[in-house]
């Protein structure tokens, strides 16, 4: 027994943990007290969380996208929510969200392959006008004067205005309305010039389609993939305008899910443009009424400027902040009203860890917990791993020949977690047979048909280069169909093409082809040693040198 003053004894009270708990999906583990952290904003009481929008901040590799993906996935699977993702960041020519979207049975819509008709008859008239106005504002912010707006309104009522081209025609050569045609022509010039960017200018092909199709509204998840576009492309504000209009007027009205999410990946470029930020602000303000949560993901708030960042922070009741440098952490902390102890820890958070702020008073530090499947679907470091593997291959190939001849690697039945397992198959045949399977599934590498390689080399040596190239392409396609895209047989054609290029006197191209094969990794069945001799990786047999 120890006798102390009460003021000193109070620090020994073992009352250290809280029992605050939000309803909903599991997110991760609190680093403050080790408890499980659950949160579905829409299931939380409206007294505690008036709005359900969330803001995710964090530097590269802080895990903000991974957390957002895991949350959306669990909301869709456990509660039947729907999500639309605007995905403007990715690698390997496809958006970051593509594997997740495919695994959930959703659809990836790539910008450029999908043409939207903003004056489609599927939109109600006021939506058409709204959409066209935002398209004009996205490229010509000053074009919409009162007169121009009237001219546009007049042109939209023209029977020809069922596609963007028709609308521009109706703007340029209007018919008499309340105002004479001459005046309408004069007023409509600015709007017509703005819209001509979409019909004849650099943004052609995005909005000038004649057909009236729209994306489905009953899919669990839909991703608009802007990752092909340049980050500063003027198409992004226009596409954003179209997507947000579609979401507001078609998707939100038609979808039957209990709750909807609109995810804005790399949102700063959307929020920086005045035209689109206005649309997003409106969605944010109406989100509660519409049964919508906006999930905004971005690096930091400092890109946005003081006023707009403050607005965004005010409208998003839920924020999670991954690792940021100390200056940005202080700024973000001040905007979000985080306590000092949490701001201090932002700069030392690990991947997947974030400071969460839920409602006005709840601050926690949470480590996102992922299942294996989720980890595979949300992995974004595939390119870096590939670079590391390529380095390893180059180091291997400079090793002496004796080490190359041994059996290398496992016969790969194990699947690389970063592979996009849900990507559509490139071979479009429905019939199933052993031949169409990739060789590593069967386990035995087929032999090479050397006669065909020899025939092509012969043709090239005779000077018939175009014939050799055509033949090589035909044979290569056959081998890809028969053995798989990454099979030894298919890869052997790269080497043959390189030899053809050598014979044609293009050593640069040959080197490029060989480098590509080397970078494809050592698990594909063929290894090329520096002297151009190919080895079968499984048997270690030396392949014929004239290959």
């Amino acid at each position: 027994m120890i006798r102390l003053p009460t003021t000193h004894a109070a620090i020994t009270a073992p009352l250290v943990a809280a029992n605050t708990r939000f309803p909903g999906i599991p997110v991760g583990r609190s680093l403050l007290d080790g408890r499980a952290f659950h949160l579905s904003p829409v299931q939380t009481s409206a007294v505690l969380l008036p709005s359900t929008n969330s803001l995710a901040l964090g530097g590269l590799g802080s895990g903000k996208s991974t957390t957002a993906k895991a949350r959306i996935r669990r909301e869709i699977i456990e509660h039947g929510h729907q999500a639309v993702v605007i995905d403007s960041f990715g690698e390997d020519n496809s958006g970051e969200w593509a594997p997740l979207v495919r695994s959930l049975g959703g659809r990836v819509i790539e910008a450029g392959t999908f043409t939207l008709n903003p004056v489609s008859t599927l939109f109600p008239p006021e939506v058409r006008e709204q959409l066209v106005r935002s398209l004009i504002l996205a490229v010509e912010p000053g074009a919409l004067t009162h007169q121009a707006t009237h001219a546009l309104q007049h042109a939209l009522n023209h029977p020809k205005a069922t596609s963007l081209n028709g609308l521009v025609d109706a703007l340029i050569s209007p018919e008499d309305g309340r105002w004479p045609a001459a005046k309408l022509t004069e007023w409509g010039e600015g709007a017509a010039i703005g819209l001509s960017r979409y019909t004849e200018g650099s943004l052609r092909g995005l909005f000038d389609g004649p057909e009236a199709s729209l994306p489905e509204t009953d899919l669990p998840i839909l991703s608009f993939d802007f990752s092909h576009l340049d980050r500063n492309s003027p198409a992004i504000p226009s596409l954003m305008a179209a997507v947000s209009c579609w979401a507001e007027h078609v998707w939100l009205r038609q979808s039957t899910a209990v709750h909807r999410h609109l995810v804005l990946e790399e949102a700063w470029q959307i929020l920086l443009s005045p035209a689109t930020s206005e649309l997003i602000q409106r969605l944010l303000k109406n989100s509660r009424k519409a049964g919508l949560s906006l999930d905004v993901l971005m690096h930091t708030l400092s890109d946005l400027g003081e006023g707009r960042a403050r607005d965004l922070a005010r409208l998003c009741e839920i924020a999670h902040v991954g690792r940021l440098n100390p200056e940005e952490a202080a700024l973000v902390g001040a905007l979000l009203g985080l306590p000092a102890w949490a701001i201090e820890r932002i700069s030392s958070l690990g991947p997947g860890q974030a400071v969460w702020k839920v409602g006005p008073g709840y601050v926690d530090i949470v480590q996102t917990v992922l299942s294996d499947e989720e980890a595979a679907l949300t992995d974004t470091s595939a390119r870096r791993r590939m670079a590391q593997q390529a380095l390893a291959v180059e180091q291997d190939s400079t090793a002496p020949e004796t080490t190359v001849a041994g059996p290398i690697g496992e016969t790969g039945l194990d699947v690389d977690a970063s592979d996009d397992l849900y990507a559509p198959f490139t071979t479009a045949d429905d019939s199933w047979d052993w031949e169409s399977l990739p060789p590593n599934v069967i386990g035995v590498t087929g032999r090479f048909d050397l006669a065909r390689h020899e025939r092509i080399i012969q043709a090239a040596m005779d000077g018939r280069f175009s014939e050799a190239a055509e033949l090589a392409a035909v044979y290569e396609r056959e081998d890809i169909t028969a053995h798989g895209l990454n099979s030894a047989q298919a890869l052997a054609w790269w080497e043959t093409r390189a030899q053809v290029a050598d014979l044609r006197g293009e050593p640069g191209q040959a080197a490029q082809l060989r480098a590509t094969v080397a970078r494809m990794g050592n698990d594909n069945g063929v290894r090329l040693s520096p002297d151009g001799i190919a080895y079968d990786a499984e048997s270690g047999d030396r392949l014929p040198s004239d290959l």
Binding site: R3, P5, A10, I11, T12, L15, A17, G34
Partner: protein, 357 residues
């Protein structure tokens, strides 16, 4: 470090005597004075002085471990400690238990944590002031179950011994209000105490299949930033329980105790450093009392769990390491494990002061 040296810091009288002890004291005094009176009337024969002196010598002066007195004492303790008497945690009185959780983030924010500790100190002072003598007991437990995630269970129990005050319900209700200001408070019915099915020197087996080892906390760190408990209990850990039993003293008793404590520490200390250390400690206590605080006796216990004797020994080892890191000294109560674990459950709230565990 505050060290637990029984009998020095807190003399036995101050620690409080049990009902039987005070009865014996009175009987002894009565018999002694009667004998003295009769001796003054009729002086006894000379050999009685010899007999009394010899008995006193056997009782008090017998040196060494083999003495009769020591044999008798140890024998009695063996007999007493063979079984856990039910009365140890079943003292008559009013008792109320709640689950208490502070607001989220309280322990992480230095200002909010200090405010929480101040409020808790005020609640203790208030509880101590409810009776003329010390007796109200407040028992706080914290239990952690650690798996992929950690679950925390925190309880606070108030015990008002029978006969201490006329209306114990009033004290319980007042304290309910005090504690409700600390965080989320909800009434709780404690789970029944698990029975002991097996025992060894270092552990006890419970009927729910767990093995437990309990230690008394005998020394606390000299100084902390107030974050001792969050650091100790929120660290990723294992299954463990920690409980503190507070016995707040009323104001008058606190002042007298502080006075005697100061006098005792000043009296027989030759070491100047020790003297000054005592001086500073008494000065701090004095300041706290002036500010309106009172003194509180606290007993703290730590229990670790395992599913086999080996795992409980391992858990005990890990707990010792953690205690060393936090400058806490543990006494693992050898031979008393079969009832020590009750001290880290809400049932420990009514343990009598000075009870032999």
């Amino acid at each position: 470090m505050y060290s637990l040296t029984p009998g020095y810091r807190i003399p036995a009288v101050q620690r409080g005597l049990s009902r039987a002890e005070s009865l014996l004291t009175k009987v002894n005094a009565g018999l002694g004075s009667a004998a003295l009176m009769s001796a003054m009337i009729t002086p006894p024969p000379g050999w009685t002085f010899g007999a009394v002196g010899a008995t006193a010598a056997v009782l008090n002066l017998a040196p060494g471990p083999r003495s009769i007195a020591r044999w008798a004492t140890v024998g009695y303790r063996h007999l007493r400690e063979r079984s856990a008497p039910d009365t140890i945690a079943a003292q008559p009185g009013e008792i109320a238990t709640w689950a208490l959780y502070p607001q989220h983030g309280t322990m992480q924010d230095p200002q909010r944590r200090a405010a929480f500790h101040d409020a808790f100190a005020r609640a203790l002072t208030f509880a101590g002031g409810q009776a003329r003598t010390a007796g109200v007991q407040i028992h706080v437990t914290h239990h952690t179950t650690s798996d992929d995630y950690t679950d925390h269970t925190q309880t606070i129990t108030v015990h008002v011994p029978k006969g201490l005050i006329a209306h114990p319900a009033r004290v319980l209700d007042s304290l309910h209000g005090e504690f409700a200001a600390l965080g989320t408070l909800a009434p709780l019915a404690p789970e029944p105490l698990p029975a002991v099915t097996g025992r060894a020197v270092g552990w006890a087996a419970l009927d729910d299949g767990r093995f437990v080892a309990t230690a008394r906390i005998t020394a606390w760190p000299e100084e902390t930033d107030g974050d001792l408990m969050p650091n100790l209990l929120l660290a990723p850990g294992t299954d463990r329980s920690l409980a503190v039993l507070y016995r707040p003293l009323p104001v008058g008793l606190s002042r007298r105790s502080a006075k005697w404590q100061r006098a005792a520490s000043e009296a027989f200390t030759a070491d100047k450093v020790k003297q000054d250390a005592h001086d500073i400690a008494s000065g701090t206590t004095h300041g706290a009392l002036v500010q309106g605080a009172t003194l509180v006796d606290l007993d703290a216990y730590l229990t670790v769990f395992g599913d086999s004797p080996e795992s409980v020994n391992e858990a005990r080892w890990q707990a010792s390491l953690a205690a060393d890191r936090h400058r806490i000294r543990l006494d693992w109560l050898p031979g008393q494990q079969h009832r020590a674990h009750l001290m880290t459950t809400p049932h420990g709230a009514s343990t009598q002061k000075g009870a032999i565990l």
